[in-house]
């Protein structure tokens, strides 16, 4: 780790998407008009797929190295050198970041390809691909940045692209409002993130190592143990808590999760790429990246795991009653992100990152399948107006179903391998309540996912006859992507089998050099390692999944149970809570938005009456002053000027008589003058 392999290949992974974005933004409109959308597709997808190819190449280059030497550094230039802080624009590639890079460019590339069909009728085709490329660039900067500030640049960059893409169809006020909400809620988290960076720098500076380069932070982090931070917390706890607050914003965890469901206003490929597969996992990535800090702060770990578990369960219960096909998936994403946070929160970093990867596969597949349905129904997103689509869209159905099995955690699909590991590790580290929440959440997940499948693909078609007539299977590019992602969702889990099935976990071993700080090792060792108990708990999880599936099957396919009757349970309290998303939006509106608006109104009143009053008074004073100055000007100054001119005119009128035109007269005048002069001189002489 002391001597990373230096390379100048990694920069191209980052720069190619930037180049694609630059060309699309600067010349996209012209290219599209002159050569058609095919050129834009080629540019947009090409940039990301080329980056993916380079990433694959570097992966193999990395695999050729010894496991403990798998670090690559691509140092471009000195960024700034202020005080003791020296930062470079440098990209740091290690097993964790290469996994993220492959997800971003791989799944991202597939979604780019999907978009060529999905967005085909949009006039701003070039703008869409420009933003998509720019997002890929920002996400890669976030993942590859070798210091926390560069990471923060990417962190902000993905937020900006998310904002722009949620409001992509900006002529509709709902979309732009959703974009604003996402941006503003993220900003709250970002503030905490910045505070954490400053605190970390101050803390490391106090122990003599002022640095923000992540690998150096990792080396000097043990020196922070016992250092006092702020708000009465130890330094490490404060920093990690603040960073986690930043992560709740970006990764849509309670209490900052409210923006993600609204973000579904964006085009569906955007929902799949940014709001499911990549950007929202940035928080999980950040915790895993800084595992050496988190492992030193057990209190923060507990907060992370608790928030994750609460989010996982509560978001899942909200997903049960939503009727918008994309909103169900949005809550499912929030819930699954909760699982990831539990994973990293209990110290099972590899399991958290593994779930991040499998989630990227199956959630992208689910979103793109939903996009295919929406596309086929001409923009319809309400599941109550769908049904029976499996006959007309068999390919979409099969891929969607495979991804559903994956997310529910049915073996051997990818979700089983990753999610079950997290659930087990939650128990293994002694968090029984967290385990119970995750276990119940798994059952609820199975229920709402199969509810979605049955409402969308089974039963009778409930839309309009025109829609029924118009329904068609996904076009070729979309179909290709769906199949690719479904295959990944199916077999992706075999990279890391649960310990009780077989001791086969190359994924975990690959990531091991990243999670090798003393503190992290200690946390990992503190958990239970009991194969037979693990098997039992996997069985319990499957039981919950089976119960959820069965309930959904009885209710929405066979119709044995009545959903309406179920919603009346306990006087409809639970139904209303779930359907109303626990009234959190309303709570924020009343608790923060309303006082804020009042404050804004008061400020507006102050501005309108006090500030404007002062300004208006100053203005009227100026008017009076100007009036006085006007008087002075017209009577005194003008008077003088007019007097001069009148005097000159009068004198001229008299004097012009002298100009007689008679030459003799002039000559007499000259003679007389000469004689006068002589006379005067003569008298003066005497």
């Amino acid at each position: 780790m002391e001597h990373p392999v230096t390379t100048d290949l990694v920069r191209w992974i980052v720069l190619l998407p930037l180049l694609g974005a630059a060309i699309n933004f600067l010349f996209g409109a012209t290219l599209q008009k002159r050569f058609g959308k095919r050129v834009i597709s080629f540019l947009g997808c090409g940039a990301v797929l080329a980056a993916f190819a380079i990433a694959l190449y570097t992966l193999f280059a990395m695999l050729a190295l010894a496991p403990d030497r798998r670090f690559m550094l691509d140092d471009l230039w000195r960024w700034f050198d202020v005080g003791g802080l020296k930062l470079d624009i440098a990209f740091w590639l290690d097993p964790l970041s290469i996994v993220m890079v492959l997800i971003i460019t791989g799944v991202g590339g597939l979604i780019h390809i999907y978009s060529t069909d999905y967005m085909h009728d949009d006039a701003s085709y070039w703008r869409f691909f420009g933003w998509l490329n720019l997002f890929t660039f920002a996400m890669l900067v976030l993942v590859l940045g070798d210091n926390l500030w560069l990471m923060f640049v990417g962190w902000e960059g993905v937020g900006l692209c998310s904002f722009a893409l949620i409001g992509f169809w900006y002529t509709d006020l709902v979309n732009t409002n959703a974009g604003n909400k996402a941006f503003i809620v993220n900003r709250i988290g970002d503030l905490a993130f910045v505070v954490a960076i400053y605190a970390l720098f101050a803390g490391l500076g106090a122990v003599g190592h002022p640095t923000l380069v992540i690998r150096e932070v990792a080396r000097y982090a043990p020196a922070l143990a016992g250092a006092r931070g702020y708000l009465g917390l130890p330094m490490v706890t404060f920093v990690t808590l603040m960073l986690f607050l930043g992560a709740t914003g970006k990764s849509a965890q309670i209490p900052l999760h409210v923006w993600l469901p609204d973000a579904m206003a964006g085009p569906t490929p955007v929902s799949a790429l940014i709001h499911a597969a990549t950007m929202v996992t940035a928080g999980v990535y950040m915790v895993a990246r800084l595992n050496f800090l988190y492992s030193m702060a057990p209190a923060t770990m507990l907060v992370v795991a608790t928030v994750g578990a609460l989010t996982a369960f509560l978001a899942a219960t909200v997903g049960v009653t939503q009727t918008d096909i994309k909103r169900v998936l949005a809550y499912s994403t929030i819930s699954q992100l909760g699982y990831m946070f539990v994973g990293v929160g209990v110290g099972a970093y590899a399991a958290g990152v593994f779930h991040l990867m499998t989630h990227a596969f199956f959630k992208a597949c689910l979103f793109l399948g939903a996009g295919s349905v929406i596309h086929a129904l001409g923009g319809e997103q309400d599941m109550r107006k769908m049904g029976a689509l499996r006959h007309k869209m068999p390919l979409t159905f099969v891929t969607f179903f495979a991804a559903t099995l994956a997310i529910c955690g049915v073996p051997p699909f990818a979700g089983f391998m990753s999610k079950d590991e997290i659930i087990w590790r939650a128990y293994a580290h002694g968090h029984f309540v967290i385990w119970a929440l995750l276990w119940a959440g798994a059952g609820v997940t199975a229920f709402y996912m199969f509810r979605q499948v049955y409402m969308t693909f089974f039963g009778d078609f409930r839309g309009t006859p025109e829609q029924d007539h118009h329904v068609h299977e996904a076009p070729s590019a979309m179909a290709f992507v769906l199949v690719a992602l479904a295959i990944l969702s199916t077999v992706g889990g075999f990279a890391m089998l649960p310990g009780f099935i077989a001791p086969f976990a190359p994924f975990e071993r690959f990531l091991d050099p990243v999670f090798n700080s003393d503190a992290t090792r200690q946390v990992f060792a503190s958990g239970l390692h009991d194969r037979s108990l693990e098997t039992l708990f996997a069985g319990l999880s499957l039981l919950a999944v089976a119960a959820g599936w069965l309930l959904a099957d009885l209710t929405y396919r066979q119709g044995v149970l009545s959903a309406a009757r179920m919603s009346e349970f306990a006087g409809g309290v639970f139904y209303r809570l779930s359907f109303g998303k626990y009234r959190i939006d309303e709570f924020y509106r009343a608790a923060f938005l309303a006082p804020y608006l009042k404050l804004a109104n008061a400020a507006a009143w102050f501005d309108g009456h006090i500030i404007d009053g002062v300004v208006n008074f100053a203005a009227s004073m100026t008017v009076v002053g100007a009036w006085l100055a006007g008087l002075f000007d017209s009577y005194i100054v003008d008077g003088l000027v007019n007097f001069t001119s009148k005097a000159t005119l009068a004198a001229g009128g008299r004097l012009r008589r002298l100009q007689t035109g008679s030459i003799n007269g002039y000559l007499y005048g000259i003679l007389a003058a000469v004689m006068v002069i002589l006379l005067v001189r003569a008298i003066a002489r005497v």
């Binding site: 012009r656 007689t660 035109g661 008679s662 030459i663 003799n664 003679l671």
Partner: protein, 106 residues
Amino acid sequence: MVNGLTLNDFLILGLAVFLLGVYCVLTRRNAIGILMGIELILNAANINYIAFSFFGGGGANYDGQVFAIFVIMLAAAEAVIGLAIILAIYQNLRTIDVGAAETLSG
């Protein structure tokens, strides 16, 4: 003294010519007459230059005589311009009576 003539005799001659010139200039209404009067005034000045040069400086001082030559040259130039003006007046007014040229009267 030259042939019994002293400096005073020349100065009196110069004064006489000068006064004749002034009288001519003042009384003539004919422009050419006025011009001739001016010539007389200039030549009166010349007489004075020469006289002073001859009787005054002593030795080889010819300043006055050089000045006389300059004045003659000046008179020639002045006559050219004066006659050109008179010609222009004649062309416009069909007369050279200076009393007629009073359009600049205030």
